[in-house]
């Protein structure tokens, strides 16, 4: 009984949240349109949380994802403002993410700084660079091409079901699939889990720990940049702080997911449940006219409850 509660507590909580909103909002909650809305609303957080899972598998952290998201958005927007085509802006934004991520990896794996400290430092650095290159201003309006903001407004029409699946949703699902495959079905992924399980043992067993960590941080940076570009497209603008809220939510989502696995290690599909819990609360509580401050309290309480339940009987 306790074993089941521990393992499935978070999933049951998720089910309870869905049923609760369904019962309270019978007309609007359980509709295809609302779920497509939710999927689009969480897509940016999802991409960042999925790729955050990659470093958290090794027991590491990346606190810089939020400012990296801002920086990549700013980079792309600045290039647009100078007349470069959309593709160039997107590639440059992603490249900034890879470089920034690899720099995190360099600090953590080669220099040997604790991830918490290293990425706290780069969080501040990347945010400073974003302010510097943008002069602290928001880039919007005519500087942002329609083709770019259009990405977030387009979707795949499915006439048979009379729905349009937002492009951002498709993008997030694509990233989910890639990360899932990488972590669960490649040697690379298994080795990351080995590092997370026991760093020394993995190293002694011949796992190229340093290189793997470097690559893993690079991928997290890439994901952060992609999330930042999606965000910039959605708000049709870029400012040097717009991604900062995503970091804590991404870590919260991974933590919520971690409570669902037997060993307490991050699984990307479980991260998805974590992301959905956060997104559902936003969406449902808004529709129920609940004060937005209450949502903050609830999210914190749910994370604590989930972690508490999953550690039942551990002592």
């Amino acid at each position: 009984m306790i074993q089941n509660l521990k393992r499935y507590g978070t999933l049951m909580g998720f089910g309870f949240i869905v049923l609760f909103f369904w019962a309270n909002l019978p007309e609007t909650f359980m509709t295809a349109r609302n779920w497509l809305n939710i999927s689009q609303q969480v897509s940016m957080l999802a991409v960042i949380a999925f790729t955050m899972t990659i470093v958290m598998v090794m027991g590491d952290f990346d606190l810089s994802v939020g400012s990296m998201a801002s920086l990549s958005g700013i980079t792309a927007a600045l290039l647009f403002a100078h007349g470069y085509p959309v593709a160039v802006g997107l590639l440059a934004g992603l490249a900034v993410g890879v470089v920034g991520g690899l720099f995190n990896g360099f600090l953590v794996s080669l220099v040997g700084i604790l991830p918490f400290v290293a990425t706290l430092g780069t969080l501040t650095m990347y945010s400073g660079i974003a302010f510097l290159v943008s002069d602290g201003k928001t880039i919007f309006g005519r500087d942002i091409p329609r083709d770019f903001s259009g990405i977030a407004r387009s979707g795949l029409e499915i006439p048979a079901l009379e729905i349009t699946v937002p492009f951002l949703t498709i993008l997030a699902l694509g990233v989910l699939l890639l990360v899932w495959f990488l972590l669960e079905h490649t040697a690379f992924g298994r080795r990351l889990y080995a590092i997370g399980g026991n760093y020394e043992a993995a190293r002694l067993a011949g796992v190229k720990v340093r290189r793997l960590r470097l690559i893993a941080f690079g991928l997290t940076g890439l994901g952060a940049a992609l999330g930042g570009l999606m965000l910039a497209s959605r708000v049709a603008s870029a400012n040097p702080t717009q991604g900062s809220g995503l970091m804590l939510d991404a870590i919260a989502a991974v933590f919520l997911g971690m409570t669902m696995s037997r060993e307490g290690e991050p699984r990307v599909l479980a991260t998805l449940v974590g992301v959905l819990i956060l997104g559902l609360l936003d969406n449902g509580l808004t529709q129920m006219n609940v004060d937005s401050f209450v949502r903050e309290i609830l999210v914190g309480a749910i994370i604590l409850a989930a972690v508490a339940i999953s550690s039942l009987g551990k002592r």
């Binding site: 689009q40 609303q41 977030a152 717009q242 808004t286 937005s292």
Partner: protein, 309 residues
Amino acid sequence: MKLATKLAGLLAGAMLATGLAGAAMAQSKVVVITPYLAQPGTQFYVEGFSAAAQSNGWDLNVIDTAGDVAAVISRLEDAVNQNVDAIVINVDPAQVEAGLEVARDAGIPVVGMDSGTSPYLATNVTSNGYAMAVETSVYVADRIGGTGNVVMFVFDAFPPVQIRGVIADAVFGNYPDIAVLDRVTPDVSDGGIADSRAKMEAILAANPEPGSIAAVWAAWDQPALGALQAIEDAGRDNEGIVIVGIDANPQARDAIAAGGNFEASVAQDFVGIGNKTAEMVARLLAGETVKENVVYVPTMLITAANAAQ
């Protein structure tokens, strides 16, 4: 007996009226979405709006996204999905167009509460920047009797402030005996006070004769405060130099109330903007088409007489 019948009739009438109004309006769901609820100005807007919403009997939901502009889009989508009757936003509409488009497709009117104009908004309620500059520049011209040298602090790179400078140029230009001594654009990266003070110190040094500077007109309060500090520190606060600002922020109100050289500023009526926004929403809910894409709420000149209010 007659009185009693009358009273009963009145009472019944009143009940009927409120009942009818209640029936017509009670279902009206109105959502206010803003990332800026933590800022004092926004709190006053919402206060004014909430009061009006309550007397209209609306089902009001105020959503704060804590600085997150992207979340405003999400909440717009939620509100549309929830099928609300009207939405009010207090955020730059250009940044939330993705959500405004969803509302427009659903036929739900969106009103801006000091948010900027946009084809997606039924209307935007705000203060008139031109009118604010009229108040202070005419105040200066009157106080110095239409004669003397004026130092202007402007900021043409920021459109809402640029329009203030244009008006002051026109007013001062219309007085043959008023000369604009300098038109300064301060560096605002430090908040605007410190650099304005340095610029003003230089101007004071260049014009040492008492009476050579009649007034300082600032397009917002920070340069006015900087100029005040420079004038006081140079010991020239008894020359009767008149300083005016715009916005009437708390620091400016303090300085004005103290009765020194800083004599006037202009305050936006934040609560009034909230009230007026509710009025526009009520008109839209009643099925009226609103022609004006901007609605201006009068501002108020703040002097020592009312600075403490």
